[in-house]
């Protein structure tokens, strides 16, 4: 079962009377396969969240199409049975006036109304155990009584109750503290090894490097570089990727007072295409501005 995006474009009408348009996602194509994490890397405003929401059917693409196993993806139960999402802010994912386990009850009501209560409890217990949660600590509690890490795992447990094949994880660790973050990442890696495909949306390069098989770098809505994580991180070819990688603070290095050696990026607005520089390693090239050769 493959989830593929073909030329997905999302434009918004902006300005008075919608006279201007803003292209948030521009002609993005990528494939997700089971058991693989693809990290979608980009800065704020690069369109990565828009793309994630489009994959989830929360936004309708202006052009292009998304297919699951060849069939066009339509937001609805049939699609959400296999494709689910987890978002950045676990606190706002829960309705504050209801108990946190309502997100699980919703799945029961919509997908498994016929399942007996005792069997359902067993399934909940199993899926909570899969994400490392103690049922006694999270069930029957209100969202504000739980920690961000617990809430985020509960959302993953909720998704696991379905016949889950793909998970869109949109900045799921950015609101967690460092130790919880690594737990959630390891949980994702564990799910991946059990055959789940993950679209890991992040602005954090080290997280992308840690967990993903493939990396896609997004800049102003366009894919500027994509390929196996080792190739993109080890041999970045697009100036924007090079800039991104050189601007990551390193654990061992300290600020020495000078300007950080971040090269300027010139990305031309003209027509450009993705060129395969190495097997599977695509880089956006446009005739004149980019001169760096493959080293």
């Amino acid at each position: 079962m493959m989830l593929s995006l073909e030329g997905v474009t999302k434009t918004y009408r902006v300005g008075a009377f919608g006279t201007a348009t803003l292209t948030a996602v521009d002609d993005v194509s990528l494939d997700l396969v089971p058991g693989e994490v693809v990290s979608l890397i980009g800065e704020s405003g690069s369109g990565k969240t828009t793309l994630g929401r489009t994959v989830l059917g929360l936004l309708t693409p202006t052009r292009g199409r998304i297919t699951l196993d060849g069939a066009p993806a339509r937001p609805g139960k049939a699609y959400y049975r296999h494709v689910q999402g987890v978002f950045q802010d676990p606190f706002s994912c829960y309705n504050p006036v209801f108990k946190a386990d309502r997100v699980i009850k919703m799945i029961k009501d919509e997908y498994f109304p016929g399942v007996a209560a005792s069997e359902w409890e067993g399934r909940i217990e199993k899926s909570l155990k899969d994400v490392g949660l103690d049922p006694g600590q999270v069930l029957g509690r209100y969202p504000h009584q739980l920690s961000g890490g617990q809430l985020q795992r509960l959302l993953i447990a909720r998704a696991l109750l379905l016949d889950l094949r793909y998970l869109v994880a949109d900045e799921i660790t950015s609101m967690l503290d460092a130790s919880t973050r690594i737990d959630v990442l390891n949980l994702l890696a564990d799910l991946k090894s059990r055959g789940l495909g993950v679209l890991f949306v992040t602005h954090d390069l080290s997280l992308g490097n840690y967990i993903s098989e493939r990396a896609v770098v997004l800049y102003r809505g366009q894919v500027v570089e994509s390929g196996p994580t080792a190739a993109v991180f080890g041999n970045p070819l697009h100036p924007y990727t090079i800039k991104l990688l050189s601007s990551v603070p390193r654990l061992t290095a300290r600020w020495d007072g000078g300007d950080p050696a971040v090269p300027a990026v010139e990305v031309s607005a003209g027509p450009s295409t993705l060129v395969e520089e190495e097997p599977g390693h695509l880089v956006r090239r446009s005739g004149t501005t980019l001169t760096r050769s493959v080293s």
Binding site: R53, L56, G57, L58, P75, G76, K77, Y80, Q84, G85, F87, D89, S92, C93, Y94, N95, P96, V97, F98, V103, M106, I107, E110, Y111, G140, Y142, H144, L155
Partner: protein, 286 residues
């Protein structure tokens, strides 16, 4: 602290322990009982001339009599009745229209929102009183129900605007997206996810519309567009004002209806604050 029950009983558990809610009920329930039992308590016609005119409250005539010798207590209990009916029907109708339009416009957005907003603004600037005058002149209907209907049909726009704005801000929250990802239908998302988050806001809207309906009914009664028979708290107030009760020192004429309207609206308001604490788990623990 003893064990807190779960599920439906939980709300009841906290409701019975909420002072504000109980205080509101203590004021409201006796007034409702009084209104419901009006014929039993106050006999037949509240406008009958039964006693010495302009006599102050006494053991026999609890609230005294009007300038014309009508029993004010009888007028009060019958007036409560009409007031509740106008408030519930007029306020309720306006709340229902306001919610339907507010939720639809706020949740759908786009063109639907534009059209509904235009409709709301048109009704908002419609001079309700002038429309009523014309309608009344042509149709000549003078019943409480029709009065409530007109009040309901003209007083919903601000409620629709307020609910639209609130819905607009709630629908972009992540829990709405999560409900969509769970395959929940739009109607259910509005009623089960968005509305409970603004339940106290909705109840407050109803209370304000309820109070507003009573006051509009009082002013309609005053200009002679009210029900041609019967009595309401607004009509009592206006009669008292018209016959200079204040200048004549007949305080027993205007204080009961004024206090009645204040008590009803005030009790509903206090109950709303209490209900907010019952249904919002974050406020509960403070």
């Amino acid at each position: 602290m003893t064990a807190v029950p779960t599920g439906r009983n939980e709300a009841l558990y906290f409701a019975l322990r909420n002072g504000k809610l109980l205080a509101g009920l203590v004021v409201l329930v006796p007034l409702l009982v009084l209104a419901a039992a009006a014929p039993l308590i106050a006999g037949g016609d509240p406008n009958a001339y039964v006693a010495t005119p302009a006599s102050p409250p006494s053991a026999e005539r609890w609230f005294g009599t009007t300038m014309f010798g009508q029993d004010i207590f009888a007028q009060f209990v019958y007036g409560l009745r009409v007031t509740f009916v106008v408030g519930v029907l007029g306020g309720g109708l306006a709340a229902i229209i306001g919610m339907a339009i507010g939720f639809t416009a706020g949740y759908r957005g786009g063109l639907v929102d534009e059209v509904l907003n235009m409709l709301t603004n048109i009704v908002l600037v419609l001079p309700a009183l002038a429309v009523l005058l014309i309608v009344n002149a042509y149709l000549g209907v003078r019943s409480v129900g029709v009065q409530a209907l007109f009040i309901g049909l003209t007083s919903w726009p601000w409620a629709a605007r307020a609910i639209r704005a609130q819905t607009f801000s709630l629908r972009s929250r992540d829990f709405v997206d999560l409900a969509k990802l769970s395959g929940v239908r739009t109607w259910k998302i509005i009623t089960r996810e968005i509305a409970p988050n603004m339940s106290s806001y909705l109840f407050m809207t109803f209370i304000l519309l309820f109070g507003g309906s009573i006051l509009i009914a009082a002013s309609l009664d005053f200009i002679g567009l009210g029900p041609s028979e019967g009595v309401s708290l607004g009509l009592m107030l206006n009669n008292a004002a018209r016959w200079s009760a204040l200048h004549l020192g007949m305080w027993w004429w205007f204080i009961p209806p004024g206090a009645g309207i204040t008590a009803i609206v005030g009790a509903l308001y206090v109950m709303n604050v209490g209900l907010d604490e019952v249904f919002n788990p974050k406020l509960r623990e403070l």
